[in-house]
């Protein structure tokens, strides 16, 4: 997680426009400076092929999720392109069964969906405030130990969360909070903290120092400066972290498996993993269950993509 975010300082990534033009060249490497869009047909074909290959598995899953058990097992998902109008192969029944709590093979994805939301939203929102206060202290206050502690936090960015799991499992057992949402919220709060503090501090240290200075001269306390100035100005960084953390928590399998397990509080990833072993009845439900699991992060990602990419790139380009 090096450099995922930094403040949008000069020369960031938003240098998209036309100065690119000179480098856009024909693929054979001859031809002089042409305008953007000068891709030759081989380049277009290669890229189209790459996109098709990349999206094909997802399309396969989506197609199968709407097909009846018989058609799923008697022909590959690609065969629908031969007879897309044959209505007998299509069904919404898979989704019906996957989401309902009554179907024995359906893994009750409806409830798991709620559980995923219940786990993810608090685990995304709560760390933000705590990390923002810390980042403020690391950026705008001078104190002993500041640099040492921050270097430790930077180091922790690469430390795998697995180091914490054995003791946490024992600790939660003693506290009696294993298999509860509280355990998962707290775990994600702790695991997300180094990245959050790192991202926010990187952003805050790029904010114009004069504004903070003048606030100080006007007699504003740190508390007021934080609320009135820094938080509103840091919204892009806060939002970027929120997206990262949301995707990370929603998609997490290990923490959910260890601390929530497969009981009534089970989340989508764990429920979907549990379905994979189905060979007989219920196997036809796997694609629909898969789609239910991925749809929220995909929508979040598609709608906030620009934000997400900007967050990722502005810092790292400096290299």
């Amino acid at each position: 997680m090096t450099d995922i975010m930094d403040p949008p300082r000069a020369g960031g990534s938003r240098t998209k426009p036309s100065r690119r033009s000179l480098r856009a060249k024909s693929a054979d490497g001859r031809g002089g400076g042409m305008v953007t869009g000068a891709a030759t047909w081989p380049v277009r074909i290669v890229l189209t092929f790459a996109c098709v290959v990349w999206l094909m598995p997802i399309a396969g899953l989506l197609i199968n999720s709407f097909r009846t058990r018989d058609s799923q097992f008697n022909s590959g998902w690609w065969s629908v392109f031969g007879n897309p109008l044959d209505a007998t192969q299509w069904t919404l029944n898979n989704y019906d069964r996957v989401l309902s709590s009554a179907d024995a093979n359906g893994a009750n994805m409806g409830e798991a969906f709620i559980n995923s939301l219940v786990v993810t939203v608090p685990a995304t929102v709560i760390p933000i405030l705590i990390a923002a206060f810390a980042a403020y202290a690391f950026t705008f206050m001078t104190w002993r130990g500041r640099n040492v502690i921050f270097v430790v936090i930077v180091g922790l960015l690469v430390v795998p969360n697995q180091v914490a799991l054995v003791p946490l499992l024992k600790l939660y057992g003693q506290l009696g909070i294993n298999q509860t949402f509280l355990a998962v919220w707290l775990t994600h709060l702790g695991f997300g903290m180094p990245l959050a503090v790192y991202i926010f501090r990187g952003y805050m240290s790029g904010l114009p120092g004069e504004i903070i200075e003048s606030a100080k001269i006007d007699g504003a306390s740190h508390f007021t400066t934080f609320w009135r100035l820094i938080v509103p100005m840091s919204v892009p960084a806060l939002a970027s972290f929120a997206i990262f953390q949301f995707l990370w928590v929603w998609n997490d399998l290990l923490v959910a498996l260890l601390f929530l397990g497969r009981g009534e509080n089970t989340v989508l990833t764990v429920a979907l993993q549990g379905l994979q072993g189905q060979t007989g009845q219920g196997r036809e439900l796997i694609p629909a269950a898969g789609f239910v699991t991925i749809i929220v992060p995909v929508l979040v990602f598609l709608s906030l993509q620009r934000f997400f990419i900007r967050g990722m790139t502005t810092g790292a380009v400096k290299g």
């Binding site: 090096t2 995922i4 022909s75 790292a316």
Partner: protein, 327 residues
């Protein structure tokens, strides 16, 4: 269900207002101390809760994990280095380490090559084409490993001979009258592990593409023009002019993907669960901790993982310090 949703709403409201209240109280307390103390203690009031969370959730458990690695399966007595000896002399575990090494060698490199290739080529499209291409390649990044493994069933799935093959690879094989293959079981040349790596590369290539693409766009035009005037061809310009200038970003991407690869767990757990010689340390750790209930082995595996990551950690800290110095 209503109770759960209520508890989530309560957690959000309680968590946020609780945190706000905490900081407000801490702030008031510190302010009441008078100016001299205020300046000294206030940073700790602001940073304290985060530092506490990091201490409780990462630093303290890491220390305990090291301690547990010297204890037996149930953590009741110390056994010295026995866990390390057991694991590092078991050919089974060494095979797991070898698998991890393969993942480390292949996945980050594959991710960078693919991401770089798409970044360079898409750069030549019109803006709209570039945007669509990038979205397509980037999209899998939003998908969980469990979801990705499910999605790749459409490609890798296997049915016994005689039944209709519903996985694309086996269907294509069938066209050439070759028998269906249970891909996840093919250990020759670690083919099965390679197929699992493909899934991870599929999810990560977009990340590398996005970072490398903006690095390429940020390389100064003049350097390329100068090389072109000197008569360098495109290939030479790419390897001699562009690649050196984006080296920093390549390293960033490499480190990020490398860390993800070293602790890979989900993909293997969901697909083969470690069978057919595809096991990796992330899954073995889970297995020792949860299935075998051997906290000693589990802790030892994590300590070994930590040791392996230490060089990356040093690079990361150095990189950060160099960057700070440049501020």
């Amino acid at each position: 269900m209503v109770i759960k949703l209520a508890s989530a709403v309560l957690a959000i409201l309680g968590g946020i207002s609780g945190a706000m209240l905490l900081f407000w109280i801490l702030n008031k307390l510190v302010e009441s101390l008078g100016h001299r103390w205020e300046d000294r203690i206030k940073p700790w009031a602001f940073a304290g809760p985060a530092i506490l969370a990091i201490g409780v959730y990462l630093i303290y458990p890491a220390v305990v994990t090291v301690q547990l690695s010297f204890a037996n399966a149930t953590s009741t007595t110390y056994v010295g280095l026995a866990n390390y000896k057991d694991l590092l002399t078991s050919s089974d575990f060494l095979g797991v380490l070898l698998n991890n090494l393969l993942w480390i060698l292949i996945v980050p490199a594959g991710t960078i090559v693919l991401g770089l290739g798409v970044a360079v080529l898409a750069d030549r499209l019109r803006p709209r084409g570039e945007r669509v291409t990038k979205t397509a390649i980037f999209l899998p990044m939003a998908i969980s490993m469990v979801g990705a493994a499910t999605i790749w069933r459409t490609i890798y799935e296997y049915q016994p001979e005689g039944e209709t093959q519903t996985g694309l690879l086996n269907a294509v094989q069938g066209l050439f009258h070759a028998g269906p293959t249970f891909w996840y079981s093919i250990e020759t040349l670690h083919l099965n592990s390679l197929l699992l790596m493909v899934i991870l590369i599929w999810t990560q290539a977009g990340y590398s593409m996005v970072l490398l693409s903006s690095a390429i766009k940020a390389t100064p035009e003049e350097t390329i023009e100068a090389a072109r005037i000197d008569g360098a061809n495109e290939r030479r310009i790419f390897f001699r002019i562009i690649v050196p200038q984006i080296k920093g970003t390549i390293i960033t991407v490499f480190i990020t993907v490398l860390i993800g690869v070293m602790k890979v767990f989900d993909i293997v757990y969901v697909t083969t669960n470690g069978a057919f010689n595809t096991d990796v340390i992330g899954r073995r750790f889970y297995n020792e901790l949860f299935t075998n209930g051997n906290a000693g082995y589990a802790a030892t595996i994590v300590v070994l993982l930590m040791l392996a990551i230490t060089p990356v950690l040093i690079v990361q800290v150095r990189h950060f310090k160099a960057e700070e110095a440049g501020r």
